[in-house]
Amino acid sequence: MDGEANLRTVAVEAMDRLSVPGAAIGIRSPDGNEITCLGVAALDTGFIVRPDTLFQVGSVSKPFTASLLVAMAGAGDVDLDAPVTEYVPGLRLGSQAVANRITTRHLLTHQAGFWGDWFDDFGLGDDAMERFVAEYGRLPQMFEPGTMWAYNNCGYILAGLVAARVSGTTFDAALKNTILQPLGLEHTHLSAAEAIAYPVAVGHTNAADDGSARIARQFLRPRARNPAGGVLSSIEDILTFASLHLGKRQDVLSKQAVQSMHEPQVETYEANTHWGLGFKLERRNGGVVVGHGGATNGFRADLSMVPDREFAVAVLTNSDSGSQFATEIVDWVLEQRLGITPIEHPRVTLASSDAALFEGVYAHPYASIEIRQNGDELCGRITTFSPYSEVSEPQTGKWFGLEHVGDDRFLISAGEHKGAQTKFWRNDDGSVRYLQAGGRLYVPGSWDNLEGYSS
């Protein structure tokens, strides 16, 4: 059995188990490209997934946006370390005091510190992004820029506006002119209006009762979000984009520019994990994995690269359960092909005083996490109430165990988020300042308790 057949077997088993209707898996190595397409683009049409089928890649768009800004910096058009107000004068933020201290580099590395998950719809016009950012006065500042990492979609949209302002066009046009067209990515687009002329996958969500896949009719739309998650692309094109980050397309980005994006800029709340310019950098046994995941309504995607080994693996799926699928495939491929494995987290005993301290409710605007003591361990559950979801009622998940792995950091031991990490951040006096999970900061008690950072 050759490697391809093996991968196919592993992938088909996982797709069945997780109810993933369609997937495209791409591997780029010094031996060339290997593409495996499985399943269907949409359950109702039965059209098969092809190497040129477009999927929503969600936040895998962020490395595209970061590549654009780094290319513009290389051309001398943008200084990543200049205050963002130099490019967006009059920028209104929740804390005006910090506006002049936020740089484009902070935006691309999730260090800006303002609340980053606000997604109101400003339509499809060329002015959507400008109008969106004009509302940033509503985003509370949560920490001093450059002191911490917290996942920030709004920061990426602001970075997109920097690119638009500096290039004198729209973000979409700037990305096309500077990255997509030079790379020859003809199956990479930023709108349904363009994507509809190509084979395109439809998203699927999993039914609450039996987990079966159903078509998600709400297609990605608000244009302002494009820098944070608006890219639609094919597995072939994603591998070409990966080749840029393996230093093979110096006509678009120099090797030094690419390397600068893969250098650690900030430590995250997860063990062994830093962030570079647009990429997550995860240290594993045997190497550092440079990558990014993505999620939109009905789609999940992942791009993982090991630049030292000139290796990349990408997974595109049209399913909400595709994150689990992508994780399994990426881990399997990295282990099989490169002998790279995730670092195990040793259990560390939790002090009972800490357990008592951490117990409570933590909230952000669209979710809350309840933490309870369970003997000498902690458990938790998440309630989500996103105004941007097709589901309007609050959804409360099952209780999951939290294994302490040291440094106020915990591993979720079961359920949908199994393997994910959370961390409690403390104030100087030892009290809990934030709980961080899924990259987001949760405020103890209630979101209304957020004092907001301003000095």
Binding site: A42, D44, T45, F47, R50, G123, L124, G125, D126, D127, A128, S191, A192, A193, E194, A195, I196, A197, Y198, P199, V200, V202, G203, I215, A216, R217, F219, L220, R221, R223
Partner: protein, 455 residues
């Protein structure tokens, strides 16, 4: 009930026609006195091999104008505007290029192609809610080609203007008004203006000829029509939905017991309002009108970048036919299919106007060059008729390159009227309009008047 042998004959005729004109895919619907047939032939995407289905969504192009007119008539019924109102009454401050004309052009002129305003204006004002308003503002620069009400010449821009008046009167985006007042009440669940709405359903790509003189098709990559030209032609729909719309227009203005339009308005739309039209025997409000053996058949065609479609409705026979094609040469197919179906199902035919004789001397009067912004036409005397050479461009195509059509022969059928005798346009009329001194002012080709160029 479907007559099986006739259905086989229909299949054979449609497949033969598709082969003749290399049309990739057709979806076809027939309503015949209470019985509905839906048929699908060929492919929805020539590149991927995805098959056409009965419910595949295709662009209907200018058939959208009947929807716009229907929506407009709901406002007439409510007394929000009158067909006799000058447009200036509803657009204060708006002026046409020939000042004062805005007080002369009536609402009715907009939906009968008689305003005299230049029509093939497809400038793109983006996807924002301001698109239609910005488009209409730009209409002030369009040439007044002839005196309002004196000539029929196909006028896309006028329908967009009508759409904007609807938008203003109802204080909601045009597309939303259509959804709330027409699509939803008629149960048209697969009819959309926006690509992001259509994209999660089974949807076809368009195909255009690589070379207008050849037979080879390619996928048209520019799928959408600019939002501002939605009222003129950007609905995408299915054969089944189109039959619902046709049945509604054969009724009394109600649908499933609910009144949508007054019976008077339904009837008024179907009456002859303009006699000397091109592309059909006469024109109603929105509708084209043809007489087959004295039976009135109302309908409309549509042509976009890679899609051509036609709807024909014979209210007195409770009969409707819709042919949706995904080819830029689909009209050649739907014309012969329409004739075949009307003859086979209803025994109706359209007697051909006999050719007349003209001397070379008489013919030479018409010879010369004619021009409009999107086409240059050269006529010369040949074989008892005229040779027509056309160099044209489409405002909606993938490229703005000029395309040279194969020359065609015209035979005289009236004093100032000719008929194309060969090629995909065989049967279309070409006619002439004169100045007061009897010299030739315009030729009308493809439904549009072109100026005679003095040489």
């Amino acid at each position: 009930m479907t007559d099986k042998p006739r259905s086989d004959e229909l299949d054979a005729f449609v497949r033969g026609s598709m082969e003749r004109w290399t049309v990739p895919g057709i979806a076809l619907g027939i309503w015949n006195g209470g019985a509905q047939e839906l048929h699908a032939y060929g492919l929805a995407n020539f590149e991927t091999g995805y098959e056409m289905a009965e419910d595949t969504i295709m662009q209907i192009g200018s058939i959208s104008k009947i929807f716009t007119t229907t929506l407009l008539m709901t406002l007439v019924d409510e007394g929000l505007l009158a067909l006799d109102d000058p447009i200036s009454k509803h657009l204060p401050g708006f002026r046409l290029s020939k000042d004062g004309t805005q007080d002369i052009v009536k609402i009715q002129n907009l939906v009968t192609h008689t305003s005299g305003v230049y029509g093939d204006h497809f400038d793109d004002f983006g996807w924002g809610d301001n698109a239609l308003g910005d488009y209409v503002a730009s209409m002030s620069d369009l040439r007044q080609v002839y005196e309002t009400g004196t000539i029929w010449s196909y006028t896309n821009s006028a329908f967009n203007l009508a759409g904007y008046i609807i938008e203003k009167k109802l204080e909601m985006p045009f597309e939303q008004a259509m959804r709330e007042r027409i699509f939803e009440p008629l149960g048209m669940e697969r009819s959309f203006y926006f690509p992001h709405e259509a994209i999660t359903y089974r949807v076809s790509v368009g195909h255009t000829l690589v070379d207008p003189a050849g037979d080879e098709h390619e996928v048209a990559r520019r799928w959408p029509i600019p939002r501002a030209s939605g009222p003129a032609g950007s609905i995408s729909s299915t054969a089944g939905d189109m039959l619902r719309f046709a049945r509604f227009h054969m009724g009394d203005g109600t649908w499933e017991g609910k009144r949508i339009l007054s019976e008077d308005s339904i009837k008024l739309m179907q009456e002859v309002h303009v006699e000397n039209s091109a592309m059909a025997d006469a024109w109603g409000l929105g509708w084209q009108i043809n007489f087959y053996d004295n039976v009135k058949v109302i309908g409309h065609g549509g042509s976009t970048n890679g899609f051509q479609a036609h709807l024909d409705v014979a209210p007195e026979k409770d009969f409707a036919l819709v042919v949706l094609t995904n080819s830029g040469r689909g009209a050649a197919s739907y014309r012969e299919i329409t004739d075949w179906v009307l003859e086979t199902y209803l025994g109706l035919s359209k007697p051909e106007i006999p050719a007349i004789e003209m001397t070379d001397d008489q013919l030479s009067e018409f010879a010369g060059k004619y021009s409009q912004p999107l086409a240059d036409v050269t006529l010369s005397v040949e074989n008892d008729g005229l040779k027509m050479e056309t160099v044209s461009k489409s405002a909606l195509a993938d490229t703005d390159e000029d395309k040279t059509s194969p020359p065609v022969h015209l035979e005289p059928i009236g004093d100032d009227r000719f008929r194309v005798t060969e090629g995909a346009a065989a049967g279309y009329h070409v006619d002439f309009f004169r100045n007061d001194d009897d010299s030739i002012r315009f030729v009308r080709v493809g439904g549009r008047v072109s100026d005679r160029v003095n040489s």
